[in-house]
């Protein structure tokens, strides 16, 4: 209601704003501290250096690809988890979440055990002429592995909250399940899907441990911006921090742009017309 002309009702108690402000400060202060530390004359050459730009380009490309992969794999997983109860569902959900708790380095090792030359699938893949290790594909795999749970979890929450009333209506109007999915389910949970995709993208962009372990670190091929930052840190921590501001700026831009103003009428049928 009052989506357009009024701001009649927002049910937020005032003390909530106080805590939210505290939370925001907690997150923002470290960023401010980072910015305060930047040695600006040194900063510009640093971020425009070839290695930084190559790393940034690689990061953006791989993160975009792995976000796409997360959407492709994650939307079905979330649907299955949210909509169709089956035995072992809880276990599946727990397992899908695991990449979250695995320290990324261990995740990278696990990926090596799987897709590496000596790994579970590696041999078959090698026979098929596919070499994953030390390639950009490996970076994407690593990022997808760590970012997938984000998409699944936030989308599942949104799907559960939305319920399946509208899907059922669509079915009674003769829509096949695929049509229902495309024209009803997905549009309705778009905010949730967007959150999930943004989370995945951000996680992919920041991914470091698994990539390092699984894909290695070669400029232009597998050395993403976080790896570049990490190396930079070996020689100069302050420079590394400055470089990560680049990452921050990219992320702010992407997140800021991807959350459009919620559509005027995106909310379900107004109750108070």
């Amino acid at each position: 209601m009052n989506r357009r002309s009024g701001t009649g009702y927002t049910g937020i108690p005032p003390w909530i704003y106080a805590i939210a402000a505290a939370g925001a400060v907690f997150v923002l202060l470290p960023l401010v501290a980072m910015v305060a530390k930047v040695n600006w004359p040194q900063f510009i050459p640093l971020i425009t250096s070839e290695s930084s730009l190559t790393a940034l380009g690689l990061s953006l490309r791989t993160s975009a690809t792995s976000t796409a992969a997360c959407v492709v794999l994650g939307v079905p997983l979330a649907l299955v988890l949210a909509r169709s109860p089956f035995p072992g569902q809880r276990l599946l959900r727990a397992f899908v979440l695991l990449p979250l708790v695995l320290p990324p380095v261990v995740g990278g090792i696990a990926l090596l055990y799987t897709f590496g030359r000596q790994g579970l699938l590696g041999r078959s893949l090698e026979m098929a002429g596919i070499q994953i290790a030390f390639s950009t594909t490996a970076v994407v795999l690593a990022q997808t592995f760590v970012a997938l749970p984000f998409l699944v979890v936030s989308l599942e929450g949104a799907l559960r909250t939305a319920g399946n009333k509208y899907e059922a209506v669509a079915a009674t109007l003769g829509a096949r399940p695929s049509t229902v999915l495309r024209r009803v389910t997905i549009p309705l949970v778009l905010p949730g899907l967007a959150s999930g995709a943004v989370l995945s993208f951000a996680r992919s962009l920041g991914e470091f441990g698994a990539t390092l372990t699984f894909a290695g670190s070669l400029q232009g091929v597998t050395r993403t911006l976080p790896l570049e930052i990490y190396l930079q840190r070996e020689t100069d921590a302050d420079a590394a921090v400055a470089l990560s501001l680049l990452l921050v700026a990219v992320a702010v831009a992407v997140v800021g742009l991807s959350y459009r103003r919620p559509r005027v009428d995106a909310a379900p049928e107004g109750a108070f017309r």
Binding site: I109, Q118, T213, S217, L218, L227, Y230, L231, E234
Partner: protein, 247 residues
């Protein structure tokens, strides 16, 4: 430098033998992650020898540790895996006295036990088709690799430039890479999972481990005593058992 360890070593022996009551309290030792096994042993030996003392150990990459100390971390002793990071600390005037070198390490070629690419010399690493992983030039082992490359005139085309020895080792033990350049001590720790191939050119790049008391330490005496143990005969034994060389 060669005289200093001997001198302190002597005083440690004296301290251990005498009943000097001065050594009490706790110190925190910030040590490079590669020193985990050796320092854990040295610390527990030290605690046993000096009841009433406690050595808390904080392991991380040397550069992390430097950042932490310069940001005010409560460290008493810093043991670095290279001189470069120690220099950062001395430049920041955060050490108490000159650092002492207590160990050295040299490079060795690591290959999977089956040695699939039949590597036998440093020059073999430059053969086309051989998947070699090395450390990035920014980290100590990478700097050493660079030095060796320059000294031998061999240019490697690595498939990856890792940011730590552990990562290089990981690629080799998993069979992902055909060979990697790591430290002697790493080959030793890895045991049967890896085969070490020493090469003479490694002499060109010896990596030195320095140790120092941190300037802000509240218990410099205990710190000095622990450093003495590390640089002393006991330390030498433990370190050389692990494959470290003596400076």
């Amino acid at each position: 430098a060669s005289g200093a360890p001997g001198a302190t070593g002597g005083s440690t022996a004296a301290a251990g033998g005498s009943t000097t009551p001065a050594l009490t309290g706790t110190i925190t030792v910030f040590a490079a992650a590669s020193l985990k096994a050796t320092f854990t042993k040295l610390a527990s030996d030290f605690e046993a020898e000096h009841p009433g003392t406690k050595i808390a150990l904080n392991f991380a990459g040397s550069s992390d540790l430097v950042t932490q100390i310069t940001q005010g971390a409560p460290a008493d002793v810093f043991a670095s895996a290279d001189t470069k990071n120690m220099t950062k600390l001395t430049d920041a005037k955060l050490t108490d006295g000159a650092p002492a070198n207590f160990a050295t390490n040299t490079l060795e070629i690591a290959v999977p036990p089956s040695n699939p690419a039949s590597i036998s010399s440093f020059a073999d690493l430059a053969r086309p088709g051989v998947k070699v992983v090395v450390c990035a030039p920014q980290v100590p082992c990478g700097a050493a690799t660079d030095t060796v490359e320059k000294a031998t005139g061999t240019t490697l085309a690595p498939v990856s430039e890792e940011s730590s020895v552990t990562d290089v080792l990981g690629k080799v033990t998993s069979g992902e890479a055909d060979a990697g350049l790591v430290y002697v001590t790493d080959v030793k720790t890895a045991g049967a999972k890896i085969k070490g191939i020493p090469f003479p050119e490694s002499d060109q790049a010896v990596n030195t481990y320095p140790i120092a008391t941190v300037g802000t330490s509240q218990n410099k005496e205990l710190a000095a005593a622990f450093i003495a143990t590390v640089t002393g005969s006991e330390g030498k034994k433990v370190l050389s058992d692990a494959g470290f060389g003596t400076p």
